[in-house]
Every structure is written in structure tokens, then in C-alpha cells.
Amino acid sequence: MPEECLISQKPTLKERILDFYRDFGVARLIIFAFLIFLLASAFALKLPMEQILSSVLTRFGMNGILVLAMIPSIQSGTGPNFALPLGITCGIVAITLSIELNMAGFSGFFFSVGVAALLGAATGFLYGFLLNRVKGQELTVGTYFGFSIVSLMCIFWFLAPYKSPEMIWPYGGSGLRVTIALQDRIGKVLDNFLAFDFFGVTVPTGLLLFFALFCTGLWLFSRTRTGIALSTVGTNPKFAESSGLNVNRYRIIGSTISQALGAVGIVVYAQSFGFIQLYMAPLFMAFFAVASILIGGASLKKSTVTHAVIGTFLFQSILVVSMPVANIVVADNIADVIRIIISNGIILYALTRKETGGDLS
């Protein structure tokens, strides 16, 4: 009762600044400061900025959709999708299928995207039922569900009856290779589409357009009746029920879209990367996607397309810029360590924030 009286009607400027600071948070401030520091060092060290910028653009585009996959999951109230390896595995299966069917170029790419989306949606749909049974523990269960799927798929990769010589070991041995090259298949099809140089910066037009397409699609979705229902369910399940919405149904829809996006995301990632990595490689991919959207300003309960775009850009920028800077200043591999610290640090930060109501608090 009394707490309500504490809420003033109109926030003063000071409150707003404080609020912004609180929302933005110490962790994000540190990360932001770190990026600025890195950029300054890069300038001071006279590193080739054109190359760095090209690299940022590519990595931004290639990771973007994986990060977008977090949005439906968070919006529907199931928290960041730590079970993303499920969708990722579906995407990888789709790519291997396209290779097995000897497809290449755009036809191979779109085939992979299509199959990936279907498989991802199907598995996400089923996974949604599990999510509905474990309300309140989605993050922990999701994490280990993802791990389990990856290790289960190891057995699949090992036994899968693929014949394509590009995928199986050249001199006997069972199972698929650990790394499969895509350069003659779907490698860089998007990156190179309409790509152009701008003051030495290579712009991967196709890739960015594809990402933009998904951003727009997801934004439009959030304005539809279903999209609004989804986020209503996520923000306040009781409210949603009182509006006649079936909470469990929308959580399943959220999971379905999320895993489908994850599957498509890895196809885009792989075409840009030029390889697919099987076996244990997808194990930790969810964490970087989760970290990205959190850096962008999302919380465990609220996220928007803007959060995903900003977050991906910031996170990837740090990774790209830190590598050459670190190479000159300290040693070889420190960028990887920094990536681990930053991504898990921001997730920890988000976990310790107090949020109002709901299952995840």
C-alpha cells in the first residue's frame, strides 16, 4: 500500500538522468568505455581502420540474426534463449543437406535457409512444450538442454549416412569432418552480393540487406496482433490470461520463432564464415548471442530489435578492434579471453538485476 505513494507522477530531470544511468548500468558503461579506449588505441597505433571497419560490418551482419533470435524468446517471457544450439544444429543440418544434394550458390543458400527455418520452427515448437513445464527455470534448463542437444548431435554427425566427399573424412574413418569448407558451396554468397568498396571499406551489401530484412520483419511482427499478444504474455502472464490469451500457446510461438531464427542465423553466419563446424562447436554460441542483446540494453524480460542491432554492433566492434590492438600491445590470443570475460560478465550483470514480477525474477 504505502509503496504506491512513493511513485511520483512526473519524473524530474534528475530522476530521469538517474533512471537512464540505472537502466544503462555500470556494466554497460564499462563496456562502452572499453570500446572507446580500444578505438583510441587503434588510432594511436595507426591500425588500418578501413580493414577494421569492413570486418566490423561483416561480423555485424553475420551475427545479427542469431542475436535477433533472442527477441521472441525474451518477449514471450522465457528469458534469453540459452537453448539456441537447438536451432543452430538445425541450421547446420540444413547446410549439410544442401551439400549432400550438391547445391551451391544462391539456390543452395535459400534451400538451406528454408530447410533451416522449417527444422528450427519444428524443434522450437516441441521445445516450447518443455519450456511450459519448467516455468521459472527456463534459463538453467535451456542451458543444459542446449548442451545435451549438441552432445547428442555429436553421435548423429558420427553416424550420419552422408556420402558427399566434401563432408566425410578423405581416408576412411567414420563420421563427418569437424570442419567443412563452404567456399564452393554457399560461402560468401550474401557477402559478395552487390558488395562495393567505399573509401577502402568493403560493404557486404547483400549480408546487411538480408539482416535488415529480418530486423524489419521482426519489428513489423511486434506490431501485429500476435506480436503484441506475445509481448503481453511475456510482460505479465496474469494480465494476458485476463485478456483471454493462452499464455502457454504464445510461449510456444515465441520458442518456435526463436529457434527458427537461430537456424537461419547460423546459415547466414556460416556463409559469411566460409565453414561450418560440427560436433562440440555450437556449444557456447548461445552465450555470445545472449551477451550481445544484453549489451544492447535488453534485460532478461525486455528486448527490442534496436537492442539487438546496437548490441551486436557494439559487441562485434569490441571483438574486431581488440584483436589487432591486443596483438600489438600484449600477446596473441587475449581477444578471446576478453570475449569470454565481457560476454559472461554482462550476463552475470543482467542476472543480478532486480526486475519486477514474472517467472524469471
Binding site: M1, C5, T224, E241, S242
Partner: protein, 532 residues
């Protein structure tokens, strides 16, 4: 006697300018059973919270007045302090660990221990529990309550009544116990158990323990108490001996009359009594924890404001929640002669009913969303409003904004604009958003539960005025549930009193206080029982 055990002098408490206790004076002798009766919100729990030094009190600016315990001044500042002084409290909700045995619960954090080698190195915490002594103590405490039960049983699975006794046994076991506060101890008990409990209360008193006994059951009060204090609206209306009191008198004192009915006499007594009821409820059962409904029959006439009153825990809140599909319900609901399927929010919404929940922040609002979203989303999802069809159904931002703007203007919602988060609004304005949300559904029947709970006095009137205006101008039939009887009496045409999950009776707002008091205390039900 050496003077009173507890004296509370001129106790005053404010919550942000809202006076909830206005100069209460209570004095309890050793071995006295002192009953405190009052409606919900009369200030009983606040008074007990002060006595028990709860953090709630000290986080909100403390209290004014003086407490003396055994003759010395005692500004109790924490529950631990209260416990040390010998004040024990049995809370309304059970404070028992389900996985522990009865004995472990009774001795929780007061376990007798034995020293060992490790405790001499690492300190007291490493002392071993003295299980035999724990069992002995627990058994003794249970026996003082005349309870023959194995102290090694797990609490989980015990009947509710037993849990209550275990709680009391825990307090009794505190050797220093001098004053025991029982907060509605009989609310969850059967008649038999309640009797046993009252007996043990008397016995404790005879042992010299003072008991503060908070209850709604007026007959109990008369049978067990040595002194009776009646609170109403934070004021001490009376303190008397049971010999001076009758159930009727207590009931009248308890209910009183606060707001004069100003609003409601602006139309003739209904001439359309012979018309069809708009909504009829038959044999409604609702499983709402703490507010169960056990077979309510009620008819709501078109155009009226019907009040649902009664004490907390008797099920008045459950009625609307059950009809709107929030909690599992059974029975028969017909709107305009058409039966409505139960347990389906969407069916209830589609039949022209809307609900403003008592749990404003939990159910009623999307706190992290804008005023606009809060107002339109329910109508959008259940009725397909504010949508335009492109390839798929998209939100129609223009009509949504137009509607929101109109609602903000019509209901005078004070906000910076449709985009403001509802979390930022004051309680009264949040409530207006809830009402706007319900109105957006264009309902025939509007259920409003506890519309003024947690809202400051000025805003309360605004909300009530708004409801009356809706009823008079737009012809919306309103069913209002409220714990504040005065509020019901100020705007309702008829008031139905719910007692123990059933309809006790329907009263006109002008009925005497005594009648209201008796009905809320279930006098009729008791009489019926006695007769049968």
C-alpha cells in the same frame, strides 16, 4: 498485581500523510485476554506490527506514542527485540517449515545445544543439537495445549488446524513468553478446534500470560476476552468489559458510518424490479485460495450498482474472479438469459463483462508498458479492436492513439502522455488506467474489485465519482467488491454480504450499522446452524 504488563499510549501512525492509527490507548494486565476487533483496514495489523517492531513500520517513518512493557519504556525496534522481551506472535499465514518435524519447528532457532570439541574451536554454531531435550520441550509445549500428537511428525501434511496449534506451541515454548499476540487464530479452524483453542487461550491466561486476541468472530470475543477494544478506521471507538457488550453492540461499533451517502440518492427507487436480471449467478463455487466461494446465488439487475461486502477471507473477492475465469469455478452464470461457460476469460469478456482486478499491479497492469498499450491491448486481443488488415492483422496506431487520448481526457488520467509507462503513475491514476482498459471493452457489466485499495483519500473520491458517473451516464451495470463498507454504502443501490463463501443477505445502503455488523459476523448463519 504490579501494574499492567503492556501499555500502549496514544499510538499514532502515518503512512505518507495517511493516518492509519489515531491515538490508540491499550493496556493489558498480566493474565488478561484482551480482544481487538475491527473491520479490515481498521488498523489492527498496523498496531500489531508496531508492537512487534516490524521493519515495515520503521521503514515508513516509525510511529508516535509510547509503549511500556512491565512498567519500563520499550520503544521496540525489531522483531528480535520484541521476542527477547517476551512478546510472541502467531501470524495469520503459517510460519512453519513444511519439511521440518513439529519438534524442529517448535524449537526453530532456539534449539538447545551441547558443547563438543569443535564448538570450542569454531564457536557456538558448531554445538550439537540436543535432540532428546528438543523432543521433551516440544512435547511439554504441546501438552500445555492439550494436544496429543507425535512431535516427530513432519509438518507438511498436517491438517491446517494442527499447524495453528504448532505455531502457538512454539510461542508457548519460549520460556520468557509474557504476551502472546494471536492474529485471527480461529479463522482457519473448525468449530471444534476453535473451541479447543479458546480453552487453551484461557488456560494460558490463567498461567499468567497476557493474550492479545484479534478476531472477527464476535461470539468468541464475548466468551473468551477479559477486555475488548474496538477499532474503526484507525480510531479506538471503545474499550469495554464483555459484561457491557453484546454481539449487536460490538457489530455496530465495528462498522460505524463514515462517508455519508451523497451520491446515490439522485434517482428514484428502482421501478424496474420486475425486469429480467442482467446477470444471474447460481450455486457459484470458486477455488480461490484464501477467498473461497462455496455456492453463491445472486442476481444483478440492469443499471444498478451492486456492492459485494464481507470480511476478508470470506470469499467476496472470489466471486468476480471466478466469474471472469481467473480461478477454477463451477456453477451457472447467465447473462441476459444466455448461459456463459465458466473458467474461460475469453468467454466472459465476449459476453460483455469486464473486470477491474483487486490486484492492480499484479494482474491489472502491464507496468513496463505505456498507458496506451495498457488501455488497448485487452480489447485488441479479445475483441479484435484497433487492428487493420494488411496481409496479417497489424495494430492500427491511429485509432489506438485517438482512443487513448479520449480516455485520458474523459477519465482525467494524469500522465505525461499516452507513451508514459504505467509504472510511473500514481495509484489513483493507475486505477483509472485499469478502468479505462475495462471501458475499452464496452462492457454491459463492469466488475470492480477493491477500486480504492492503496489510493490516497482524495483520489478515492475521484474513483468513486467516476464509477457513479459511468453508471448514470453510460448505463453500465456495476458490481463493486470492497472491504470498505462505507464506500459500498456511499454508492451502491444494494449490498450483498458474503460470509464463509455464501450469500448471507442483501441489504439496502441505509440499513442500520448493527444489521451490517451482524451480517458480516455471520449471525444469521450461526442462528441457522443453532436451529438445525
Amino acid at each position: 498485581m504490579t501494574g499492567p504488563r503492556l501499555e500502549m499510549k496514544n499510538i499514532t501512525k502515518e503512512y505518507f500523510g495517511n493516518k492509519v492509527l489515531k491515538g490508540i490507548n491499550i493496556s493489558v494486565q498480566p493474565g488478561e485476554v484482551h480482544a481487538i476487533v475491527g473491520e479490515n483496514g481498521a488498523g489492527k495489523s498496523t498496531l500489531m506490527n508496531i508492537l512487534f517492531g516490524m521493519p515495515v513500520i520503521h521503514n515508513t517513518g516509525g510511529y508516535k506514542g509510547k509503549i511500556t512493557f512491565n512498567g519500563s519504556s520499550a520503544p521496540i525496534s525489531s522483531p528480535e527485540e520484541a521476542m527477547e522481551m517476551g512478546i510472541g506472535m502467531v501470524h495469520q499465514e503459517f510460519m512453519l517449515l513444511p519439511g521440518f518435524t513439529i519438534m524442529e519447528n517448535i524449537k526453530l532457532n532456539r534449539e538447545p545445544t551441547l558443547p563438543n570439541i569443535w564448538s570450542s574451536i569454531f564457536g557456538e554454531k558448531m554445538r550439537t543439537l540436543d535432540i532428546p531435550r528438543m523432543r521433551r520441550d516440544a512435547k511439554a509445549a504441546l501438552e500445555r495445549l492439550d494436544l496429543n500428537i507425535d512431535e516427530m511428525l513432519q509438518v507438511a501434511g498436517l491438517p491446517v488446524g494442527f499447524m495453528q496449534f504448532v505455531e502457538i506451541a512454539r510461542e508457548l515454548d519460549k520460556t520468557s513468553l509474557q504476551l502472546l499476540v494471536l492474529d485471527e487464530p480461529t479463522a482457519v479452524l473448525t468449530e471444534n478446534d476453535a473451541e479447543t483453542l479458546l480453552k487453551s487461550v484461557r488456560r494460558m491466561a490463567n498461567e499468567g500470560i497476557s493474550v492479545l486476541f484479534i478476531t472477527h468472530r464476535l461470539d468468541e470475543v464475548l466468551s473468551v476476552a477479559d477486555r475488548i477494544t474496538v477499532l474503526r478506521d484507525g480510531e479506538q471507538v471503545a474499550t469495554m468489559n464483555p459484561s457491557e457488550a453484546t454481539v449487536e453492540k460490538l457489530a455496530e461499533l465495528m462498522v460505524g458510518r463514515k462517508i455519508k451517502s451523497i451520491l446515490h440518492k439522485d434517482r428514484e427507487a428502482d421501478s424496474d424490479r420486475n425486469t429480467q436480471p442482467l446477470l444471474s449467478i447460481k450455486n457459484l463455487h470458486v477455488q480461490m485460495p484464501g477467498e473461497e466461494v462455496n455456492g453463491v446465488d445472486l442476481e444483478v439487475m440492469p443499471g444498478e450498482i451492486l456492492g459485494l461486502g464481507g470480511l476478508a477471507g470470506h470469499g467476496k473477492i472470489g466471486v468476480a474472479n471466478g466469474i471472469m475465469g481467473f480461478y477454477p469455478a463451477s456453477g451457472e452464470i447467465t447473462v441476459k438469459g444466455k448461459q456463459i461457460p465458466l473458467n474461460s476469460s475469453i468467454a466472459s469478456l465476449n459476453s460483455g463483462m469486464a473486470f477491474v482486478s483487486e490486484d492492480r499491479r499484479g494482474v491489472g497492469l502491464l507496468l513496463e508498458e505505456s498507458v496506451e498499450m495498457n488501455i488497448i491491448v485487452q480489447a485488441m486481443q479479445s475483441q479484435g479492436k484497433f487492428l487493420k488488415r494488411r496481409i496479417i492483422e497489424m495494430m492500427d496506431a491511429k485509432t489506438a492513439r485517438k482512443h487513448t487520448d479520449r480516455m485520458i481526457k474523459d477519465l482525467d488520467i494524469r500522465c505525461t502522455g499516452p507513451e508514459q509507462l504505467t509504472r510511473r503513475l500514481s495509484g489513483g491514476n493507475q486505477q483509472k488506467v485499469c478502468i479505462a482498459k475495462a471501458l475499452t471493452l464496452e462492457p454491459n457489466i463492469l466488475f470492480v474489485s477493491e477500486p480504492t485499495r492503496g489510493i490516497d483519500v482524495g483520489a478515492k473520491r475521484l474513483i468513486l465519482d467516476l464509477l457513479v458517473e459511468l453508471n448514470r451516464k453510460s448505463g453500465v451495470t456495476i458490481v463493486m467488491t470492497s472491504s470498505e463498507l462505507s464506500e459500498l454504502r456511499s454508492i451502491c443501490d444494494r449490498i450483498a454480504i458474503i460470509y464463509k463463501g455464501r450469500l448471507e443477505g442483501i441489504l439496502s445502503p441505509d440499513e442500520s450499522n448493527a444489521k451490517y455488523g451482524l451480517m458480516m459476523a455471520g449471525a444469521l448463519a450461526h442462528k441457522r446452524k443453532a436451529a438445525s
